[in-house]
């Protein structure tokens, strides 16, 4: 290997330009030459021509036909990678069975929303917290069978979270629970159960698929497969698209 040379040795570096353009320089010399190039417009200019010539070299080879399967191999490798990347980018999906998370008492809305997100989603979701305010739709829960009960449904459209606030629900008998239902047509689907008459809850569900949400009193601890009593509160859900 050649010894180190003084930085100002322009002639020396100039002699290396051909080897550099052809990637034929060992790492040390390459680094030294790059330092020189940064300060030497003459060498940069010459390198441009040498590099252009080097780039023409692959055109001199005889073209050759690869096996016919290569094309599809590349296509499927690309699609597979795209698929994998898409999965990696997806947020952790909510539990497949809907469930309710109880949120502890807080007066202000934003910490409450943050708590709901924290409960139901991975930490990565928190990055999006700042956007929360723009994504909120709030719907009043109307009293049905229980005249004094009321509440609110807040739908975080982007993340399939339903936040429910209830107050003054009729008291439960021992062994009973409040059960949340998502309803499409005449088909109520259980979204989970809770037991506090006042509180805030988060439900992981895509309510775009449903036209109404309702709460009934059911036998605990797991609730019923279908409602067995009149709703105590309910609300119509906004349609995202399609029929009403």
């Amino acid at each position: 290997m050649p010894a180190t040379v003084p930085d100002q040795d322009h002639a020396h570096y100039r002699e290396l330009l051909g080897a550099y353009a052809l990637a034929a320089l060992p790492a040390e010399e390459r680094t030294a030459l790059e330092r020189h190039l940064a300060t030497c417009p003459t060498c940069r200019l010459e390198l441009r021509s040498l590099l252009a010539a080097a780039r023409a070299l692959p055109l001199s080879v005889d073209e050759r036909i690869p096996s016919p399967s290569l094309r599809e191999r590349i296509r499927s490798a690309a699609l597979e990678e795209r698929e994998r990347a898409a999965h990696a980018a997806e947020p952790e999906s909510p539990p497949s069975t809907s469930r309710i998370a109880v949120l502890h008492e807080r007066r202000s809305l934003v910490p409450w929303l943050a708590a709901a997100v924290l409960l139901l989603f991975s930490v990565a979701m928190l990055v999006w917290n700042l956007q929360l305010r723009q994504e909120i739709e709030s719907i009043a829960l109307k009293p049905a069978a229980a005249p004094q009960a009321h509440g609110k449904v807040i739908y975080l459209r982007e993340w399939n979270i339903v936040l429910i606030t209830v107050e003054d629900l009729p008291p439960l008998q021992p062994g009973q629970v409040y059960q949340v239902w998502l309803i499409e047509g005449n088909q109520p689907v259980s979204a989970g159960v809770f037991t506090q008459p006042d509180g805030r809850f988060a439900v992981a569900a895509d309510i775009a698929d449903y036209s109404a949400i309702a709460i009934t009193i059911e036998q605990g601890p797991l609730g019923s497969p279908a409602p067995t009593s009149e709703p105590i509160v309910m609300a119509e859900l906004p349609r995202q698209s399609g029929t009403s």
Binding site: L16, A19, A23, A54, I65, I74, E81
Partner: protein, 194 residues
């Protein structure tokens, strides 16, 4: 045949359009495979290298910039570097990638001449190579197609290191001049013909 030009295809590839990648493959697979085969002399490994190069484009299309030269130049330099890595048993990060891929940004301006080069034909490059003094052509080919360093070329040919350096540099200079002359001739020929 896809009507999009190379840059449009590359933009589509950056958006992960697999059809665009296949269209680019259709355009350059024979050249890419020919290059890999020339370096490796083994069809199986050469195909692996070509696939690897197209997948590299698939992943890095968004980071492409003009200083890398044309899309074809970029593709072929990836093929060449990967093939040399295979040939020389280098794995992991490519040593040659550092050269041919990072050399260009050092240059102050995009290489305008390289745009002219897009029109250049294989037959012109072969003719220009034949026009070089034999010893310069051999030195260049040892560096480009076998991935030898200047010191290895000197050793292989039994010549002083300084001579190897000069042959590489003077050979490329001459090749450049011959190619430019070809271009000038074909351009004036084209205008004469109309």
């Amino acid at each position: 045949m896809d009507r999009r030009d190379d840059r449009e295809l590359l933009q589509a590839i950056a958006r992960q359009d697999a059809d665009a990648l296949v269209a680019l493959f259709d355009r350059y697979n024979r050249l890419a495979f020919g290059l890999a085969y020339r370096i490796l002399g083994d069809a199986f490994v050469a195909e692996e290298v070509v696939q690897d190069a197209f997948m590299s484009i698939w992943r890095n299309a968004a980071s492409y910039n003009l200083s890398r030269g044309t899309v074809r130049t970029w593709l072929l330099s990836i093929v060449r570097n990967r093939a040399i890595d295979q040939l020389r048993g280098r794995f992991g990060r490519s040593q040659s990638d550092i050269d041919l891929d990072t050399v260009a940004p050092i240059l102050a301006a995009p290489d305008l001449w390289d745009d002219v080069l897009t029109e250049i034909q294989a037959v012109d490059v072969r003719a220009a190579l034949k026009g070089l003094p034999e010893e310069q052509r051999v030195a260049i080919e040892l560096a480009y197609f076998e991935g030898l360093t200047h010191a290895e070329i000197a050793e292989r040919l039994g010549i002083p290191l300084g001579t190897a350096k000069s042959r590489l540099r003077l050979g490329l200079q001459k090749l450049h001049d011959l190619l430019v002359m070809t271009q000038v001739r074909s351009e004036s020929g084209a205008s004469d013909g109309t």
